[in-house]
Symmetry: C2
Subunit: 140 residues, 2 copies
């Protein structure tokens, strides 16, 4: 192994964090829409899906003091990263992650998500992940 | 709908972001270990798995200028949130997300991940997600 401290590094990739409040009930209770968002975001970020998106309905009420509103949870593995969504229709809340090893335009993804989820308010964070990702393989 | 501005809000939950550098090749090239991390972290955070963890091997070399080292990508949906891992054995890099609607001890998760992945260096961020999550349902 090359001594870790002597290797050239780069950034692994961007991670867009998107939380949406006050989305319409009708929008968030649409399972197919969740599937579509996962698929569209992959295309929008120019990433290849390694699998088809996977969406489940979570109806458990065991947590949050029995006040869990339930919702949809979905996920798609794209090349070496992922996109996820969790929706809670009764709370008007959706939370999305778009983590990619390839640069993409966060603005386009945010615009798409706002148009699709129709929130009244959003929180958006863009992180750079893997700040010390090696430019080359460190093992043969 | 209750006017969104008049509703009581809380925080949806913590999101632990963990990037690990200089992990041993043998550790990161162990698919079962990736599966185990997803399972263990759910238990450690006291979260119920909605599905079994799902891990795939990504061998595509189409991106990063054909220098993609490939790796494992895994994911498990826990109650209304998720845990993910992506490993790149040849680069010694692993990137983990633990996003939960339930409070957990990030320190325990970080300690577990350090012990399991044996990195030389890490970046750790803890975010609070869903800062305006409604305390009650806003739709009936």
């Amino acid at each position: 192994m090359t001594a870790y401290k002597n290797i050239e590094t780069t950034t692994f990739g961007p991670h867009l964090i998107f939380d949406a409040y006050g989305c319409p009930y009708k929008t968030l209770s649409n399972m197919e829409l969740c599937f579509g968002i996962l698929s569209d975001l992959a295309d929008l970020a120019g990433m290849k899906k390694m699998t088809e998106p996977y969406v489940i309905k979570a109806t458990s009420n065991e947590f949050m003091g029995g006040k869990d509103p339930g919702g949809f949870s979905g996920f798609v593995i794209i090349q070496e990263s992922h996109i996820s969504i969790h929706t809670f229709a009764k709370r008007g809340f959706a939370t999305v992650d778009l983590y990619s090893c390839k640069n993409f335009e966060p603005e386009s993804a945010v615009e798409y998500l706002k148009k699709t989820l129709q929130p009244r308010d959003v929180d958006v964070i863009k992180l750079d992940r893997g700040l010390k990702y090696p430019k080359q393989n460190i093992y043969k």
